[in-house]
Structures are given as structure tokens and as C-alpha cells.
């Protein structure tokens, strides 16, 4: 069986080449492939009829339960005949239908052959998942086929609609397949049908499978895609929309009916939707003027009937349904192909324009007549035999069946009416319409429809020939009564009477319609309340509009909004968690000593004031108060080491933030304007804060183990130090510290690389720079007020400017007065660098001198902290920050050149050195001891100073120290010096910061 599929795949692969090579002649050649499948099926017919279904199973994805399981049983044989037989005829027909210079014909041929293969695979597969795979393949391939005339907007949209609707169904089917498969414990269809699972879940699964089947077979409410898809080339419509693809749904229903037909969800949805479709489609078909659309609605109608018949759930009705399936494939594809010929030869499909074709194209009229007769259900034709069997079977059923019969009868009558309308519309000679010109007939073009229509007659007469085969499938549903058989003629009985009645009714409809047609058409047809297509379009458009609206509402791009959403959801989650976790074990203790309460109040006050602050600087300083308050709490709690670290970190952060603030507006901008939103913000903020407070209390109350800090205390004793923070950092959890300093370095690198718009190597401001002659932090006369004021201040500040207050770039030079030296930076005294670099109005000699005096002391202190850190408050981190602060005050007092001269090494070098030392210590531990970061100690006695305790961890700490110093330097360089430089350049219009491409404006 796989061979058949592989043959199709190969044919599809070579098709483009073949078409490119021999043009349209390729189509008949390609038609041989599905024809071969027909031959193969025919060869197997006797076996299958005898009840020997053949299987072929190959492993594919065992873990998914997916197998390449194929099974040739009566139903799949029937469908193979339909799919492959019609497929080969349609392919042959294509060779005449298309013009040789048609665009993209190679691709079209390939896709059509592939489609035939996928269709055959679909009907042969015995694995639900495999079936789904082929199912979706036919969907995608049909998309390509319908959209073949891709230049037409309509074709594209139709293809898209068809694709969306059928994929929608397909996906539902996938879930259904998985649910049913999981419940049954197997995905093999034959096993599921033999042993159907039950239960509510399975009902849901089956319902989902039905959604797939019904959408593919264009039943209400999915029916609108099929007429839309008529934008496809006619051979495609004949194959996909009459014979093959739309039958896939019917096939699936027929396949599963023996197992699930007695489920309520199955029975009622099939009956109601199928019968509605039958009537709706037929009525619509009667109103069409486009022959192809007429057939399309007719197909919709017939698919409804087919679904009802094969899904109704009794043996005889199923048999009738299978018979009708075969008959329908024959007559409907024949009719479509006829329309294709008419369209091709006359250039129109409008039955109001066509006239006289019956005379000029007698042979074609006969072919169409045969097919239409079969569709109408005229005796001796296949359609008649199948429908009569259905009447007979339904007559013997219960009340529901009889009601069904009435509706079916009406449907069949309408079918007969539109069959006549089709034939009459296409071929009749109309009195008031001029004859339509038509090209000469070509026998080869008419061969395919002739074969199909003739097949309908042959089948009608000899229906009993296929009875054995079809009964074999229908017999899967047990039946108590004497089984019916398919036959060309059942003899005279109630069923025949019903058939005649249906034809008579059809004739009445035709007459009534002709009478109505005489009347003037109302100017505007009343709008139907429920139109599935309109509903679909509204649904799609509505979803899209919703999407845009939702995106606009939620994706405003505003960070506060994002954060608010996050906090709200987070708050909801936390509240749920806390409530679920009731009761809490909360223990409240006010304070150990009153001072803590006072500090706590300070912290709270600071927080509230911070929130109310309008100026950024004020807010920063106030938040600094909060930080110091917390550090004080640490100190009061008896953790001087923690407190020290916290104080230092707080200070550095404060300085850095203030440096950054220079680049931001002085006040908070964009504050919430509307009161309501402000209230929402406050509400969410307070709620989040309250939640966190609760959580903290709960967390504190939940302690049941001994505090881990005691463990740390004893562990740090073991490591030979009293400073728990430090010992933890450099010894107990040195690995983590290693990671953290790496992160710190990466962060610093990242921040600076964002800030430095030029290469870093040049970024260190030194006195030797040519730019060093321009004053740092100079107040810009152009920006600092009106003319006279600026002039006055220039004088009083003791600064002389050349060129006045006009912002002339590059002319601003500084002449130092009494306090300064010779006026150029290069010759400045090294002791007070600011002397010749800082703008005079910014200088404070006192500060500079004091800073210069204490600088080394602070550095020594930092080294002491580093050294003493193992036992006393301090450590590499604290020491590093202190050293960093020393540089910070140098910078603050003297500007960027002061900093450059104070630390004439690159920050990167310091950081790198630190990392190397830290890593080196670790590696040394690995080499000397047994593992990375293995500790060791060395305690030499040094005269005067006493015993110096040197641990290997101290070495590691030095690394940390250097990294921290480096990072602080880096931050000062970037947020301090670099921003200074950028500001100065912008103010005084030096070389542009960014080298811009020529021609671009700033």
C-alpha cells in the first residue's frame, strides 16, 4: 500500500520537470499514476469483498503512538476507487483545460498529484493520527490548488477562508483523535471501531472529531467555504469539491458510525446539521445563476444528505449512503467537468447568457443530461438506485426515521429541481437570449465527463455488482431485520412511489420557480438574518478588531502600566496563596530597645516623603535616609559588619544616582494626571506593600528550625574568622562570591559600554589630553539666564571669557586669575589638579585641599578594612567600597581630571587584576589542596605589629577588593567623567559625540 503513496509522491516530485519538458502532455502521463492505483484497487477487490482486509503496518514514531498503519477494507477500497479514479480522469482533463502558457502549471500539476496521493493515503490509513496528517495535507494542498489563480484577490481570499475553516475543524479533530485514542488505548481505527470506548470524555472527543468531519464536508454552519472555493480552476472543483476532499468528512463519519452512531451527541448533530444542510444547500442552488455555484450549493446539499445517511446508524441506511457516495462522485464530477468545458469554450458560466448550446454541442448536452439525470434520481441511474434504497431503509425505521424521511424527500425533490435548472440553464435555447457562440468540440476534452456520466448509468443498472462490497462495510452495524441490498431496480413498492413523488415535487418546484421568475425581482433582496458567511466574516473581523483594541489597551508601551499589571496579578496570586495557607502563625514583637522604634519611624517617614517628593534629587536623598535607617537598625541589632557594608553601599549608590540625575530633568515628569488613575496606582502600591508586610510576618512566624546564622557563626570560627559576613563571602560560600563578582563585572561592563559612545581606551581623562584645557563643569552663559545677568556674573566670578556670551563653539577659553597658574592644564601642578582644569566658579579650594589631605588616609583605612576583615567589621567588599569612596570624593572635589590623575590606571585593569587574583586563589587551592578554593592559612609574627594572620581567603578577598574598586572607578568614569564630557561637549559644541553619516541631520 505504501507503494501507491510513494508512487504519487515521486510523481509529484517529477511533475514540475515533466511539465516543463513536455508541457500539457504531461497531464495524461501523470494521470497514469492514480490510474495505477485504481488498477491496484481493482486487483484487490475480490479479496476485500470476500472479507480479507489487507493491512500494512510500519513503525513511525512509536513513542507518539503513531504508526504508518494502512488497511484496505471495503470502505477504503470504495474511497480509493473514487479518489484515484476521479483523480486520474481529472488529471487527464487538465491537459485540455489549461492553456499551454498558463502560469505555474508545473507547480499545479505537482500539487494535484500530491493531493491525489494524500487523498488515497487518507482513506487507506488505519491510524487516527496518520489520518489527521493526511487530512491536514489535503487541506494545505487544497489551499494551494484553490489559490492557483493567485493574482485574483477573490481566489486568494477564498483559498484562505477554505483553509481557515477546514483547519479549524482539523485541529478540533486532532484533539478529538487524541482523546478517543487515549481512552481506547490505541490509535488504530479498526481496533477502536471493533471495541469502542465509552464515557463522557469520549463523547467530547467524538464531538470534536465530528467538528472536523463536518467542517471538511461543508455542513452547516461551515458550508460557506465551499461555494467560496469555486474560485478554483474547474478541474480542481470537480476533484476536490465534488469527488474527493469534501468526501473525507463523509468518509470519516462512515468509518466511525459503526462505533459511535448510538451516542446522543453523534446522532443529533448529524441529523440536525445534515438535514439543515440538505435543504439550505438545495434552496440556495435554485437561486444561482452561475452554473458552477449552482453545482457548489448542490454539492453542499448532497453532502448533507450523505452525512445523514452514512451517520444515521442503521445498517441499511449506511448501505444506501455508501451507494449514494459513489453515485454522487460520478455525477457531480461529470457535471463540474462539463461546466469547465462550457466555461472554456464559451467564456461564461452564467445561465442567463447561455443559450442554444444544446443544438451546437449536442454531445456535451447528452453527457450532462446523463449526469443530471443521475443527480435528479431518474430510474435506471445510480442516483435513483441509491436514493430509493435510502427511502426503503428509512421507511422501516422509528418515528425519527420517518421524520427524517420526510425532510430527505423534500431535499431530493429540490435536487431534482436544480438538476433540471442546471441542464436547462446550460443547454436550453432560451427565447429572449441570443445564442452563445461556442468553439468547436474536442472529443478528448469531453472524454472524462463522458466516462463519468456513463459510469453513472452503468452503475445504476448494475448496482448489485457493488452490493457485496458495500454491504461488507454496512454489516459492521448489526441489524435484526432482513438486510436490504443495492440494486438497479427494487421492483414496485412504497419506495418507488416515494421516488416518483420526489420527481413530481421537483417538477412542481420547477414550474413554481418559472412562474416566480416572471415577476420583477425586488430591488433589494431582504437581508437574511443568519448568514454563516457573514457570521464568519464578522467573527474573524471582530477577533481582529479585538486584537488590535486589546493590544492598544495593554501594549501601551508604558512601563508604569506594565508594572501595574504585573503587580496586580502578583497581588492576586499572593493573596490567594496567603488565604489558602491560613491560619498563619504570626508573632508580633514591637522592639528590643526603643531606639529601634525611633529608627523605624524615621524609615517610614523617609519612605512616605520619598513618594511625595517632586524633585528627583530630593527623592534620592530621602531614599538614602531610608537606607541609612536600615543600616542603623542592623547596627542596633548587633551586626556591625552588616551595618558597615550597608552604610558604604548606600553611600556609593547615592553618589552614583546623583551623578546619573544630572542627565535627567530635575523634577519627575509625566506624573499621573488623572485623579482616578492616581488612585488606582496608590491602591495597587499600597496593596502590594501590605501583602509583602503580611508575607514577612508570616515568614518570620514560620521559623521552626534554629537560625542558620548560628551555624554560620560556628562555621566561621572553624574558618578562623569572627566576621561572619566576610567569612561567608570569602570562605564558606566563596563559589557564590566568585559568581557574583563575575556578574558584577559583567554588569559594570555592560553599563559602561552603553554609556561610552567612543572607544573606552581613550576615555580616561588625563592632563595630557588636548581637550584638558577646557574647563570642567563650566556654567554655560547661554543657558544660565539672560544676557545682562550672565555678564554680571562673569565678572563677579572672576572669570574672563573671550568672545562674550555668544555660544561660539571652540572659542571658550579660560584665563585663570590669581588662584591659578599659567593657564594650561599640562603645566598644572599635580597636587591640585583642579587648579587649571576645573571651571573657577566651581572650585572650592578648601574642599580640594581637605580631600587631597585625607585621600591617602582613607585608602590606608580601606586596606586596613580589607586586612582586618576576617575578624573585625570590614573585608574586601567593604574595603573596596571605602577605597572607591576615596576616589569618589576626589572626583567630586576636583572633576574628571582630578580623578584621572588620582587613579591613572584603567578600571578594566583593576577589575581584571581582581578577577585574576580571585580565580588564581581558587586554582591555587585546587593545585595545593584538594579542591578549588580550598582554604589555607599562614600566620607569621611580625615585630611591632604582632601576629599577622594571613588566610588564603584573604588573598581571595584582595581580589574582591580590587574588583569592587575597579567597578566603582568604572562607574565614576562612566556616570561621572563621561557624562561630564558629554555635557561639556554639548554645551560648548565641541566635536560631535557621535560620528554621523554625511547628510544626516541631528
Amino acid at each position: 500500500m505504501i507503494g501507491v503513496l510513494v508512487a504519487h509522491a515521486l510523481a509529484a516530485l517529477i511533475a514540475p520537470w515533466l511539465v516543463g519538458r513536455i508541457g500539457l502532455k504531461a497531464f495524461p502521463v501523470l494521470a497514469l499514476v492514480p490510474a495505477g492505483a485504481v488498477v491496484w484497487a481493482a486487483a484487490n477487490t475480490s479479496d476485500v469483498t470476500a472479507g480479507r482486509a489487507s493491512e500494512s503496518v510500519h513503525q513511525w514514531v512509536p513513542s507518539l503512538g503513531m504508526e504508518l498503519a494502512f488497511r484496505l477494507d471495503p470502505l477504503s477500497l470504495l474511497m480509493t476507487f473514487v479518489a484515484a479514479g476521479v483523480g486520474s480522469l481529472v488529471l487527464a482533463y487538465c491537459g485540455r483545460y489549461f492553456a499551454a502558457d498558463e502560469q505555474g502549471l508545473g507547480r499545479f500539476a505537482a500539487v494535484l498529484v500530491a493531493f491525489a496521493g494524500a487523498m488515497i493515503g487518507l482513506v487507506l490509513s488505519d491510524d487516527l493520527l496518520l489520518l489527521y496528517v493526511f487530512w491536514e495535507l489535503t487541506t494545505v494542498l487544497s489551499f494551494l490548488l484553490v489559490g492557483h489563480n493567485a493574482d485574483r484577490q477573490g481566489a486568494r481570499r477564498a483559498a484562505m477562508d477554505a483553509l481557515i475553516v477546514t483547519t479549524f475543524g482539523g485541529l478540533a479533530m486532532l484533539v478529538g483523535a487524541v482523546i478517543v485514542g487515549e481512552a481506547a488505548g490505541t490509535y488504530r481505527i479498526s481496533e477502536i471501531v471493533a471495541n469502542p470506548p465509552g464515557g463522557t470524555t469520549v463523547s467530547i472527543g467524538v464531538a470534536l472529531l465530528l467538528v472536523g468531519a463536518l467542517s471538511k464536508s461543508a455542513l452547516v454552519p461551515f458550508h460557506f467555504w465551499l461555494p467560496g472555493a469555486m474560485a478554483a480552476p474547474t478541474p480542481v472543483s470537480a476533484y476536490l469539491h465534488a469527488a474527493a476532499m469534501v468526501k473525507a468528512g463523509v468518509f470519516l463519519v462512515a468509518r466511525l458510525a459503526p462505533a459511535f452512531a448510538d451516542l446522543d451527541v453523534w446522532r443529533w448533530s448529524i441529523l440536525v446539521l445534515g438535514l439543515t444542510t440538505l435543504l439550505l444547500g438545495a434552496l440556495r442552488a435554485l437561486r444561482q445563476h452561475d452554473l458552477k455555484l449552482l453545482l457548489a450549493y448542490g454539492t453542499v446539499s448532497q453532502l448533507g444528505l450523505l452525512t445523514v445517511l452514512v451517520g444515521q446508524g442503521s445498517r441499511d441506511v449506511l448501505l444506501a449512503g455508501l451507494g449514494l457516495l459513489l453515485a454522487h462522485a460520478l455525477y457531480k464530477s461529470a457535471l463540474f467537468l462539463t461546466v469547465g468545458i462550457i466555461d472554456h469554450d464559451t467564456g461564461t458560466r452564467d445561465l442567463r447568457v447561455l443559450s442554444g448550446l444544446g443544438r451546437t454541442r449536442r454531445r456535451l448536452a447528452v453527457i450532462a443530461g446523463l449526469a443530471a439525470a443521475s443527480m435528479a434520481g431518474i430510474p435506471l441511474f445510480a442516483g435513483f438506485a441509491a436514493k430509493e434504497t435510502a427511502f426503503d431503509a428509512l421507511l422501516h425505521g422509528d418515528t425519527v426515521d420517518v421524520l427524517t424521511l420526510v425532510v430527505v424527500l423534500v431535499g431530493v425533490a429540490l435536487t431534482a429541481a436544480y438538476a433540471w435548472r442546471f441542464w436547462w440553464g446550460a443547454f436550453a435555447t432560451k427565447d429572449d437570449v441570443p445564442d452563445r457562440r461556442c468553439t468547436a468540440p474536442r472529443t478528448s476534452f469531453e472524454l472524462a465527463p463522458a466516462l463519468l456520466a456513463g459510469g453513472g448509468l452503468v452503475l445504476g443498472v448494475g448496482f448489485s455488482a457493488v452490493d457485496a462490497l458495500l454491504s461488507r462495510h454496512a454489516d459492521l452495524i448489526p441489524s435484526d431485520e432482513k438486510p436490504l441490498h443495492l440494486a438497479g431496480w427494487h421492483g414496485v413498492g412504497p419506495a418507488l412511489g416515494l421516488s416518483v413523488l420526489a420527481l413530481a415535487l421537483g417538477a412542481v418546484v420547477v414550474l413554481v420557480q418559472r412562474r416566480l421568475a416572471g415577476r420583477p425581482v425586488p430591488a433589494e433582496a431582504p437581508r437574511r438574518l443568519v448568514d454563516a458567511r457573514v457570521a464568519y466574516v464578522l467573527l474573524v473581523r471582530g477577533t481582529e478588531r479585538l486584537s488590535v483594541a486589546a493590544a492598544r489597551a495593554t501594549q501601551s508601551g508604558s512601563l508604569p502600566v506594565y508594572l501595574m499589571t504585573i503587580l496586580a496579578v502578583f497581588g492576586a496570586a499572593m493573596t490567594t496563596a496567603l488565604i489558602t495557607g491560613l491560619p498563619w502563625n504570626v508573632e508580633l514583637r514591637t522592639w528590643d530597645e526603643p531606639a529601634q522604634g525611633a529608627v523605624g519611624l524615621l524609615v517610614v517617614a523617609g519612605t512616605i516623603l520619598t513618594l511625595r517628593a517632586r524633585r528627583r534629587l530630593k527623592a534620592v536623598v530621602l531614599s538614602g535616609v531610608v537606607g541609612y535607617g536600615v543600616a542603623t537598625l542592623f547596627a542596633l541589632q548587633g551586626a556591625p559588619d552588616l551595618a558597615l557594608t550597608q552604610f558604604l553601599v548606600e553611600t556609593v549608590t547615592l553618589v552614583v544616582v546623583v551623578l546619573v540625575l544630572r542627565r535627567l530633568p530635575s523634577h519627575f515628569t509625566g506624573t499621573v494626571s488623572s485623579k482616578r488613575r492616581r488612585r488606582v496606582h496608590i491602591l495597587i502600591g499600597v496593596a502590594a506593600g501590605a501583602l509583602m508586610t503580611m508575607l514577612t510576618l508570616v515568614a518570620a512566624g514560620a521559623r521552626e528550625a534554629a537560625p542558620v546564622s548560628e551555624l554560620f557563626a560556628s562555621a566561621s570560627k572553624l574558618a578562623g574568622g569572627n566576621n561572619i559576613v566576610n567569612v561567608t563571602l570569602v570562605d564558606l560560600r566563596a563559589w557564590d562570591t566568585m559568581g557574583e563578582i563575575a556578574v558584577l563585572v559583567v554588569a559594570a561592563t555592560g553599563v559602561t559600554s552603553l554609556l561610552f559612545l567612543r572607544r573606552r581606551s581613550r576615555a580616561m581623562p588625563r592632563l595630557s589630553d588636548p581637550a584638558a584645557d577646557s574647563p570642567v563643569w563650566a556654567t554655560d552663559p547661554a543657558t544660565s539666564g539672560s544676557g545682562p545677568g550672565a555678564d554680571g556674573r562673569t565678572g563677579s566670578a572672576g572669570r574672563a571669557t573671550q568672545g562674550g556670551s555668544a555660544p561660539v563653539p571652540g572659542l571658550l577659553t579660560v584665563v585663570q586669575h590669581a588662584a591659578g597658574g599659567s593657564g594650561t592644564a599640562k603645566s598644572a601642578e599635580r597636587w591640585l589638579v583642579a587648579e587649571n582644569t576645573l571651571a573657577p566658579e566651581r572650585r572650592s579650594i578648601l574642599l580640594e585641599v581637605v580631600v587631597r589631605l585625607i585621600f591617602h588616609t582613607v585608602l590606608v583605612l580601606s586596606v586596613y578594612l580589607l586586612w582586618a576583615g576576617h575578624d573585625l567589621p570590614g573585608g574586601g567588599f567593604a574595603g573596596g567600597i571605602v577605597a572607591g569612596l576615596a576616589f569618589t570624593i576626589r572626583y567630586l572635589a576636583g572633576g574628571r581630571y582630578e580623578l584621572g590623575e588620582a587613579a591613572p590606571v584603567g578600571a578594566g585593569l583593576v577589575i581584571g587584576l581582581g578577577l585574576v587574583i580571585a580565580v588564581g586563589t581558587g586554582l591555587a587551592g585546587a593545585i595545593l589542596g584538594d579542591a578549588v578554593l580550598q582554604g589555607g592559612a599562614w600566620k607569621p609574627d611580625i615585630p611591632l605589629l604582632g601576629t599577622l594572620k594571613l588566610y588564603s581567603s584573604t588573598l581571595f578577598d584582595i581580589g574582591v577588593y580590587l574588583v569592587v574598586v575597579g567597578v566603582v572607578l568604572d562607574v565614576l568614569r562612566s556616570f561621572g567623567s563621561e557624562i561630564d564630557r558629554q555635557i561639556d561637549e554639548e554645551r560648548h559644541g565641541r566635536t560631535p559625540t557621535v560620528e554621523r553619516a554625511p547628510g544626516s541631520t541631528r
Binding site: 514514531v61 486589546a550 501594549q555 512601563l559 496563596a577 495557607g581 584538594d930
Partner: protein, 532 residues
């Protein structure tokens, strides 16, 4: 010298962390090579070395495949789940490096730094997927995130890029902080940092309804949802995806997803499995919100990157389903999905980057008629879109099927139905892109006569091409119909290579998923808690 063995340092299995070492070492080497003055070193050697480092980490991970232990006293797991994560991140990294060749971002951020940051982020990801200890998890996460904040902002002269970096930083920090707080609470409730010990404690003490534990779990869910951009914590995603340079977006979309989802699996299906009654419904709700929000949101997008951002939100929702069900099948399904997601997304971004270089923007209109101009790209993008939609014969179908099976098998049928409803919606926008590829005429000068076409002969010769791309300092997308830049001679070849390879993988794995599936089956070994 007197030595004193103070604490017993953990034993270190060097072979076990070799793939991490490859990434870290690669970062250092690349950083140093990037300092060389020669153009060859910066433009050629650096990317090549980066790819070598990624490839080495993949190779070493495969070498260590059969291991099943933990390293450094349980800090880092060495098991197939970790290794497959490393492989996934490595593949994502190689893809991102290929996309970066000739791009603006590495030129502006300096090649060495750019690639080193990518390697460091990947190393963070590798730690993250292997972490079996709360601290390691957090460090891995930060190491993964921080370079990405920077990378997102590397196109310094484009405001969108800077903005996206800032947004990512702020929102990401909130996420990290939440996660850390959650970890602290979990540690408080269980008294342990190791996953295995946490699982023991949860099971032994019945911590399923302990307020501390639940609070911690809620915070961890929020924190990880940030990282994997699961709605409603997704809002940063479209802005950041759109603003960041495309290669970086590609890396973020793929590598972060791998890392975050595997971390989800390890943490929830491993350490917190005992509290699954508490987090199961919550995660299921998040997953369905993500599926709906992502898919509906993507409908209205006209920028490919934004579209993919929304789609990635939905995809994260799908993948989360495998975590929610907390079964062996679920773990396998999620891992399989995330791997295939890397491949499919890489293909898409390759084409988008190429189209962006040729047209100057990433709107869907830039793809119009690509089928005629660059058939290979169009085929690859078609396959990627179909794969993401889950059409059979692509690997996306197998992945989705696996997830659906896991959901049905784990008694979450309703979630499977939500997933499928989401997929249905997704068909509309994925196929719209496909239709655009194959049908429309190329939107050339004739279509948009008002577009300011600027010819840039050789991008290298001009210091900053972005300044040209945005003459008004506005994002190109904001200028209606204008701002199109035709960059002749833009480097396209690496994109083509990536697109072809990824596209082929989508089909081949779609037809023959067996081998990868077998490989993925191994990963369930890593969450022994599931089998208790």
C-alpha cells in the same frame, strides 16, 4: 607554611562542567581577540571563535550525555535534561551569531564584547538549565539576563533599541527580584536550597498548604513567567522584541525560552512536585491566558518581530502545558517542543533579518513577493510558519501533538482544547504571512513611491547605518510608508544558510521525528520526583 583545612570543598567533576567551561572560556577568548586591531580578527575571527565555542559546548554536552549525577554538592545537575538544554542554547547561539554577521549591532557594541556577552548569556543559560539548587538557579538566571539587557540596547543610536534595553532591564529586574524573594520563602519553608531536599521536605511535611511555601511558589511562578514571557507577565515582550536588534531578538526568543522552560520543568516537576495541587491550576490558568492573549494579540500586528513576540507568548503557553500536567509525558513534550521551537524560530528570524537588511524594516510588507525574489528564504519562512502553526509534515505538528497527548493523558483535556482554539486563531496570522510571501508583488519603489530610498553602498564604510535608516530619529515603522532603506550589498549569505538548514530540519524532523523523540525520552530521567 601551615595549612589548615577549614571546610571540605565540594568535589568538582571537570568533565561534567566542560560545556560550561567551553562557553566561559570562549567568552574570554573572544573578548581578547576582539581587542586586536586587525579587521580580520574582529569581523571574521570573533564570530568564528564564538561559533566554535558554542559548537564545543554542544559537543561536550553530547559527550556527557550518559552521565546522570549532580556536580558541586548538588548545585548543578549533570543529566540529559541539562545537556539537552545546553544543546538547545548552543544551537540558538550559533543561529544568533550567524544572524549577527554583517549586522549593525555587533559593530556598534564592538565585536568582541557583543559576542562575549552572547557567550556569557549562554553560559548563564547552561547553568540555569542544570541548576538543582536555588542559588545556582538564581545565579544562572542573572548571568543569562544581564548580558541580554545590554545586548538589547546595543544599537546605541536607535532609540527603540535603547528603550527596549531599558524596559527589559526594569521589568526583568522586577522578575528577578520576585523570583529571589520566592526562593527565600521556599528556603524558609523547607529549610533547604537543594531541589531534591526541597522535594523531600514538601513530601515529608505536607507543605502543600503552608502559607510560606505557597507564597514562595506564587512568587517563583511570577518570576519565571517573566522570563519565559507568559501572559500576563508578557507585556515587555513585544516592545523588547521589536526594539532589540534582530539577531539579539532571535537569541532572546530561542535561548531564553529553552532555559526558562527547562528551569520550569526542573523546579516545578522536580522540587515542587509535592505542591502540584497548589501550582497546577495556577500554571494552567497562566498557560491558557498566554495562549489566548498571545494568539489574539498577534492577529493585529504588522511588524514581523512583534508578531513573533506575540506568537512566542502563545508558544510559551503551549510549552507550559507540559509542565502543568506534571507527568513524564509532559516533561518530554515540553522539551521536545522547546527544541523544535528553537529551530522554527531560528528559520523565521533568519529570513526576517535578511529582509530587514534589504528593506530597512521588519514589517510584513517587507516580505511581499519574497517567493519570487528569494525562493529559498520564502520556503524556509513558509516552513517555519507552518511549523509554528502545527501543520503536519513539519516538526511543529509532532511537537504540538505530543503536548496535546500529554494534556489529555494528564487529565487536562480542557487545556488541550484551549491550546487547539489558540492554534486555530494562530493559523490566521501565520498563514497571512505565508500568503504574503507567495502572492503579492514585491513592494518595491513602484509600490511606495514616497519612500525615501537611500542607497548605502557598503555598510562598513559608514560609521553608523542606523543614523541613515532613521533620518528623523524615528523608528522606520512609525513613518508611514517611508523610511525604506535599500541596502545594496548587504550580507545575506549567512541568513540563507541558516534559513535553509533550519527549514530542512523542520521538514526532516517532521517526517522522521523518531530519533529526536528517542533522545528526548531520556530527559525524564532528570526529574526522578515524577516517578515516586
Amino acid at each position: 607554611m601551615s595549612t589548615l583545612a577549614v571546610t571540605e570543598a565540594p568535589h568538582i567533576d571537570w568533565a561534567g562542567i566542560s560545556s560550561l567551561i567551553a562557553l566561559f572560556g570562549g567568552a574570554v577568548v573572544v573578548l581578547l581577540v576582539g581587542l586586536l586591531r586587525a579587521r580580520f580578527a574582529r569581523l571574521t575571527l570573533v564570530p568564528v571563535l564564538t561559533i566554535v565555542a558554542f559548537a564545543a559546548s554542544i559537543g561536550l554536552a553530547i559527550w556527557q550525555w550518559d552521565e546522570d549525577t549532580s556536580l558541586m554538592s548538588g548545585a548543578l545537575g549533570l543529566d540529559p535534561l541539562a545537556m539537552i538544554g545546553v544543546v538547545g542554547i548552543g544551537v540558538a547561539g550559533i543561529a544568533a551569531v550567524l544572524l549577527s554577521i554583517g549586522a549593525t549591532a555587533p559593530r556598534e557594541a564592538a565585536h568582541g564584547e557583543y559576542h562575549a556577552m552572547m557567550l556569557v548569556a549562554a553560559a548563564g543559560g547552561a547553568m540555569f538549565v542544570g541548576a538543582e539548587n536555588l542559588i545556582t538557579t538564581f545565579i544562572g538566571l542573572e548571568l543569562l539576563s544581564i548580558p541580554l539587557y545590554v545586548l538589547a540596547a546595543t544599537e546605541l543610536h536607535r532609540r527603540r533599541s535603547l528603550e527596549s534595553g531599558l524596559k527589559y532591564l526594569i521589568v526583568g529586574s522586577v522578575g528577578s527580584a520576585t523570583l529571589l524573594y520566592g526562593f527565600a520563602l521556599i528556603f524558609g519553608a523547607t529549610g533547604s536550597l537543594d531541589y531534591a531536599a526541597i522535594a523531600d521536605q514538601v513530601a515529608a511535611k505536607g507543605l502543600g498548604d503552608d502559607p510560606l511555601m505557597l507564597g514562595g511558589v506564587a512568587m517563583v511562578v511570577v518570576g519565571l513567567a517573566f522570563k519565559s514571557s507568559v501572559a500576563p507577565f508578557h507585556q515587555w515582550t513585544p516592545d523588547v522584541y521589536e526594539g532589540a536588534p534582530t539577531p539579539v531578538t532571535a537569541f532572546m526568543a530561542t535561548a531564553t525560552k529553552v532555559a526558562a522552560l527547562i528551569a520550569f520543568l526542573r523546579l516545578f516537576d522536580g522540587a515542587l512536585i509535592g505542591a502540584s495541587d497548589a501550582w497546577g491550576p495556577a500554571l494552567a490558568a497562566l498557560a491558557s491566558i498566554a495562549i489566548i492573549v498571545g494568539n489574539v494579540g498577534a492577529l493585529g500586528q504588522s511588524s514581523m518581530k512583534r508578531l513573533l513576540a506575540f506568537s512566542s507568548i502563545a508558544q510559551a503557553g503551549y510549552m507550559l502545558v507540559g509542565v502543568v500536567v506534571a507527568t513524564k509525558l509532559g516533561v518530554q513534550a515540553t522539551v521536545f517542543y522547546v527544541l523544535t521551537y528553537v529551530v522554527m524560530t531560528a528559520a523565521a528570524f533568519a529570513v526576517i533579518e535578511a529582509a530587514e537588511r534589504e528593506s530597512g524594516h521588519d514589517g510584513i510588507s517587507a516580505l511581499a513577493g519574497l517567493g519570487r525574489r528569494r525562493p529559498l528564504h520564502a520556503i524556509a519562512l513558509t516552513l517555519s510558519m507552518l511549523g509554528l502553526a502545527g501543520v503536519p509534515a513539519t516538526v511543529g505538528f509532532v511537537a504540538k501533538l505530543r503536548i496535546v497527548q500529554a494534556a489529555v493523558d494528564g487529565d487536562y483535556s480542557w487545556l488541550a482544547i484551549v491550546l487547539v482554539v489558540g492554534s486555530m486563531i494562530s493559523f490566521v496570522y501565520y498563514l497571512r504571512v505565508v500568503a504574503r510571501l507567495w502572492t503579492d508583488e514585491p513592494a518595491g519603489v513602484a509600490v511606495a513611491p514616497q519612500s525615501q530610498a537611500v542607497e548605502v553602498e557598503a555598510p562598513e564604510a559608514v560609521a553608523t547605518t542606523t543614523a541613515v535608516a532613521d533620518p528623523k530619529g524615528l523608528p522606520a515603522a512609525a513613518v508611514p510608508g517611508g523610511g525604506a532603506v535599500v541596502v545594496t550589498g548587504a550580507t545575506i549569505l549567512p541568513m540563507t544558510v541558516l534559513a535553509v538548514v533550519a527549514g530542512a530540519a523542520i521538514v526532516v524532523l517532521g517526517v522522521i521525528p523518531g530519533p529526536l523523540m528517542t533522545v528526548v525520552e531520556d530527559v525524564a530521567r532528570a526529574v526522578p520526583e515524577l516517578f515516586r
